[in-house]
Each structure stands twice: as C-alpha cells, then as structure tokens.
C-alpha cells in the first residue's frame, strides 16, 4: 500500500478545484452514472435483498466511484486520487483481524460475510450520546462493564459539563473534558470488572485533533479504537489528517468513520449504498484504518432505521463483506428513546439487517443520540443479544422479519417517542435497571421472539 507520506503529498498537490465543483460537477454526476451503469435499483418491498449479483455490482460501482472521484480536502482545495492498481493492492493488504483490548478482554475483530455463522463483534454503549455530568458518565460506563456481557468493546458517552461548566468544542474545556472522559471511563471499566475492555470510540468529547491527541495521553491504549471521520461526502480536513498522522505513529487503531447522507449529495438509497463502498476504500488507503465504521443516515429523520436506509445498509454491507476482508461495523441510531416499544422494534430491525448482511455492530444511539441522558445500558445489551441470536439466519428469513418490524414503527419516525432518561428508569447508585424497565424489557423480548427473533 502506498505510504502515508505519499497520501499527504497528494493532498497538497492533487487537482485543484472548488468544493462546489467537487460536489456538483464531479461527485454527484459520477454517482448517478454508476447507479445507472450497474442497474442498481431500490426495492422497498425487500429491505434485505438476497441478490449476490446486486451486491457485487454495488461493490464495483463503489470501487469505480472512489477511483474516479477520490477524496476532497477543503483545506488545500485539492482532490486526492488513487489508481486502480493502488486500490487493488490496498484491498489485498487491508487488515482483516485487528486485535482490540487487553488481557482476557483482548480479541480479534474478524470480518464477516452475509449469512455468516461467525459471531459479530459487538461494539456497544452510548454511541457518543451526551450525558449531563461526570457522575452519570461514571455510573453508565461502569454499568456497561457489568450489565453487557456480550460487549466486545464499548462506546462511551460525551460529557456535557465538567466542574459545573458547559463544555464547548474548540475551547480549553473541550481538552479538559476529553482528558476527564478518558480517566473516568478507564476507571469505571476497572470498577465494573472489565479493565481490559477496549474503549472503541476513543473520546466522544473530542471534536478537534487537539483534544483527541491530548486525551490520548491520559489512559487510552493502542489497543483501543479511534474513530476518525470523513465529512459528508468524501471529504477529509487537515484536522483529520493530523489525527491520522498521530495515530499511525502511536500505533492506535483508526476506525474509519463514515456517514453517507440519504437525500444529500448521494441522492437516494442506491447512491448512498454506492458511496458507502467508496468510503470503505478510503478508510483503507486514505485513513490507514483498522476497520470501517459506517452509519448511512436519513437526511430528514436523522436516524438509520428508515426503510430506504435499511436497504442501503443491507446492500452496501453485502457488497463490502463479499468483496473485502477489511472489517465493517455498522452503527445504528434509533429514533425512539429508552423504554419505548418503538426502540425495541428499531433495534431488532437495524441489528438483524447488519448481521445477516455481513457486518458487525456498533450500537449506538437511541433518541437519535441527540437528547441528553436519554440512553441506558439496556438498549445496547438488547442490540448485542439480537446480534448473537440472528447469526446464521438467511437474508430471506431476515427480510420477512424486518418487514414486519418496519411496519410496526416506520409510521412514527416523524414523531418518535423520546422515552425515559437514564436516571428515570435506572438505579444510578447500584448500576442496575429499575423494576419498571425490567418488566417492560421482559414483555418486549417476548414480542420480538414472537416476531422471529428468539430472545
């Protein structure tokens, strides 16, 4: 694979163009040409298609998209491109089983295939959602260690305030909050009895390269994970390249984070699926990552559980996992909040889709991961159990189940119930769920079992 220095050279010397030219004259037309050339067509009646030919065409389209379009750097206003030979070499040399965690929690994250009987990696927790203060942060992360036995790694929340002050990205408080989150998170996992469990979203608080690098000095290990995010679509700023430069030298696992927006420059579900494949290649060669972490998101609903996003996730997941050994994790963001019927349906639908289509999971946020304190360890635990239960299920069977689940919630996506806050349905001090939530969970598991997911 070409060196990081070569990548940086191209960021500085690639073809100059304005951002709007890249968006409208280069990216958008090429996506549409490739969707048409490869006859890729969204089928709302089959959110999980069982068509290997379609999956392979989507992969080829995504490969050509990345080869022809590349990545745009807004800081240099230049396009970084790679040749077909360089991309084939990168695919062949991409990591296939990176090891995360320490001690007895150390484990290889192995890429899967559609309908695989291999268990998915369960990267679960808050999905970076916001928690109001340090005490709740510590309580939740400790509960993750104790309450989520199927967790292979955790995703910690983002702290809204420290020392009574509101955290502001780009300010010194962001740096201090990032350091605090690492110190508290590591200690909480130790208290919860799983000190080696990898924190795979590094520091949810760190929006800038400075904060991410600063936080890393206070307890994160190379065996943890660092999401480094593309900006939609197919853009990388200097700040992200700074993070990549630091992490490759530090030896940390970069998680190539991508969120193609359905309704944005990608267009519809077809273009979103193709763009997701292009991002996969960028994760390997541009970002030097250990895995691809993606969450195609609906432009209007701000979640990943709509029918069209489900199709895009399934098809791109199948495309990638059939044609690449570079691990893929799909992040799911549910629209509804804790202790609602809708969130159970959304979780079951999203996780089933990802796992049978060949991916592993990150779960992720509920209440769109945008409402402070609206998440608990119950939802990620459910996600991990669904992920293990649907292993080996055929895409056809899963398609039938997901259609039933979608029918139960998609009418409510415009106004999803927010549900309860952590402290309203959880015993914060004892780190266990309240009785009301335990009873609700039991009822909903029974219903999901009746729908075809044995829990």
């Amino acid at each position: 694979m070409i060196s990081l220095y070569e990548v940086i050279d191209r960021v500085m010397t690639g073809r100059y163009c304005s951002e709007s030219e890249f968006d409208m004259e280069i990216l958008v037309p090429r996506i549409r040409e490739l969707v048409s050339k490869y006859k890729i067509k969204y089928d709302p009646d089959n959110p999980i298609p069982s068509d290997d030919g379609l999956a392979d065409r989507v992969f080829q389209a995504g490969f050509e998209l990345f080869r022809d379009v590349g990545v745009y750097c807004p800081d240099t206003e230049r396009i970084l491109r790679f040749s077909e030979e360089e991309l084939c070499e990168a695919l062949a040399q991409a990591p296939s089983a990176p090891v995360f965690g320490e001690g007895k929690d150390a484990k290889a994250l192995v890429a899967r295939k559609p309908e695989s009987t291999a268990r998915p990696w369960c990267f679960i927790g808050a999905g970076g959602a916001a928690v109001s203060n340090e005490e709740l942060f510590a309580s939740i992360v400790e509960a993750y260690a104790g309450f989520m036995p199927l967790a292979d790694s955790i995703t910690a929340p983002s702290i809204v305030s420290i020392n009574g002050r509101t955290v502001r990205t780009g300010s010194p408080l962001e740096v201090l909050a990032s350091i605090r989150a690492v110190v508290l998170g590591r200690e909480a996992l130790r208290r919860g009895g799983r000190p080696g469990l990898p924190i795979m979203n590094s520091i949810a608080n760190a929006g800038t390269d400075t904060a991410k690098i600063a936080g890393t000095q206070f307890g994160l290990r190379p065996s943890d994970g660092w999401p480094v995010g593309h900006t939609a679509e197919l853009k990388l700023e200097y700040q992200r390249f700074n993070e990549i430069a630091f992490l490759t030298t530090f030896g940390g696992h970069i998680c190539a984070e991508t969120a193609p927006i359905l309704g944005g420059y990608c267009g519809g579900p077809e273009g979103t699926a193709v763009t997701n494949v292009a991002y996969h290649l960028s994760g390997i060669i541009t970002m030097r990552a250990s895995l691809h972490l993606t969450f195609p998101t609906h432009f209007n609903y701000g979640c990943t559980t709509t029918r069209d996003v489900t199709w895009a996730v399934s098809v791109s997941n199948q495309a990638i996992s059939r044609n690449s050994h570079f691990p893929l994790l799909v992040i799911s963001y549910a629209a509804a909040g804790p202790m609602t019927e809708m969130v159970y349906y959304e979780i079951a639908s999203a996780i089933t889709t990802t796992v049978v289509s060949g991916g592993s999971i990150e779960f992720g946020g509920v209440a769109k991961a945008t409402h402070v304190d609206h998440f608990t360890p119950m939802e990620p635990r459910l996600a991990s159990e669904v992920a293990h239960r649907v292993v080996g299920m055929t895409r056809k069977e899963a398609n039938g189940i997901v259609k039933k689940l979608l029918e139960r919630y998609e009418g409510n996506l415009a106004s999803p119930p927010l549900g309860k806050k952590y402290a309203e349905c959880w015993d914060v001090a004892r780190r266990v769920p309240g009785k009301e939530y335990v009873d609700f969970d039991r009822k909903m598991r029974k219903e999901l079992s009746n729908l075809g997911i044995p829990l």
Partner: protein, 218 residues
C-alpha cells in the same frame, strides 16, 4: 395568452433544471414587456415550490435543490435589472443569514435548509460552516437580514448558538432579528433557554416556522 405561456415556460425551466432555457425565456419576457415580478411569482416561484415539495416527498435530492436554485438565480440576473428599471419591488418572504456555528463543520443539513428556503421565496445567505459570532452579526447587518439561522450538530457546539444571541444583546441589536436554531441535538427547550425565537427539527418545519415568524414581524 402569450404571457401565460411565458410563465409556464419559466416554471418548466426550473423543473427541468435548465439554466439555458430559463435565460432564454427570461430574455423573451423582457423583450415582450411582460411584468418581471409576475414572471417571478407566477413562473419561477411556482417551479421552485414544486421542486421543494418533491424533495420533501423524497422524489428528488439535494443536488436537484441546488440546480433549481442555480436556475432561479440565472433568471434573476436578467429579471432583477428590469425590476429596478421599472421601479417595482418583488415580494420576498424574508432575508435569512444561515450558518453552522463556530467549531462545527457539519454542512449538509444546513445546506438542505438553505436550498429549501430558497424554493419557498426567501433570500438566503449561506455563510457556511465554522462561522464566528462576529461574522453572523456583520453579515446580518450587511444584508439587512430578517432572520439569523444557526445550526449545530454537536452537543458541545450548541453553546455557540447561545454566544451569538448574547452578542446580539450586548451590541443592542437583538430586537432587529428573528433568531432560529436547529441541528441534531438542539431542542425546543434549548431554544427557549438561550432566548431564540424558534426551533425546528426538520428543514421543512424550519421553512414553515420562518414563514410564521415573519408573519409576526410584518
């Protein structure tokens, strides 16, 4: 009859996203002495409304909104001088300054809103991302804005919306503008807490809210 046909062709040019056609029809309109304000209201704006509705139904996407906006602007370059010459005024629903706050580089949601507002007849100045407090204020004053719209997609950049409102108060110009806030983690409660005039969860709701708030201002 001829006039109605010209209006229809302006509408069609918007729907076909055809800049060349819209320029030709706009030139024909001027040559025939047809009222350019009527051309905007009965032709271009109707096309823009249809495109906006199609976007909300998921039938077209952001690129179509951008192209429709470019087509509209191409016609306006021809029609606006004619309007000035005639001493007329075109109806605008309001002038909007829009940007993502300092420290936040999220773009697409805000861009969708900018385009959707244009389809509904607002004059929109999209300041981009990572916009400083002073830029919001300077641009609002320069364009005599009715509305300042601020987007934030991170919990930790939301305070940027509050900082702009506080600066508006400090500089004594808060009452000049309607302030709207939005973005993933933003809520109606947050909007109320920081003293914004309105919050909307989706782009379509934001356009309706802007209309409603402008009715109050007029």
């Amino acid at each position: 009859m001829v006039t109605a046909r010209v209006f229809e062709e302006l509408k069609e040019a918007i729907l076909e996203l055809d800049e060349e056609k819209v320029q030709k029809v706009a030139n024909d309109l001027v040559a025939q002495g047809i009222d350019p304000v009527e051309g905007i209201e009965k032709g271009l704006s109707q096309g823009m409304t249809i495109i906006g509705d199609k976007f909300n139904r998921g039938e077209v996407y952001l690129p179509e909104l951008i192209r429709a906006s470019n087509t509209f602007n191409a016609a306006m370059k021809i029609l606006e001088p004619e309007i000035l010459k005639r001493g007329e005024e075109r109806t605008r629903r309001g002038t909007v300054i829009l940007g993502t706050v300092k420290g936040d580089i999220h773009k697409i949601g805000k861009d969708i809103l900018a385009m959707l507002m244009k389809t509904r007849g607002f004059e929109v100045y999209n300041l981009g991302e990572d916009v400083s407090m002073s830029t919001f204020l300077k641009q609002a004053a320069e364009h005599s804005a009715d509305i300042i719209g601020m987007s934030s997609l991170l919990t930790t950049t939301m305070p940027g919306q509050k900082e702009v409102i506080e600066l508006l108060k400090e500089t004594g110009v808060r009452d000049r503008y309607i302030v709207m806030v939005g973005g993933g983690p933003v809520s109606a409660e947050w909007a109320k807490e920081i003293g914004a005039d309105g919050y909307a969860e989706t782009a379509e709701e934001a356009v309706s809210l802007a209309d409603e708030l402008m009715s109050g201002k007029r």
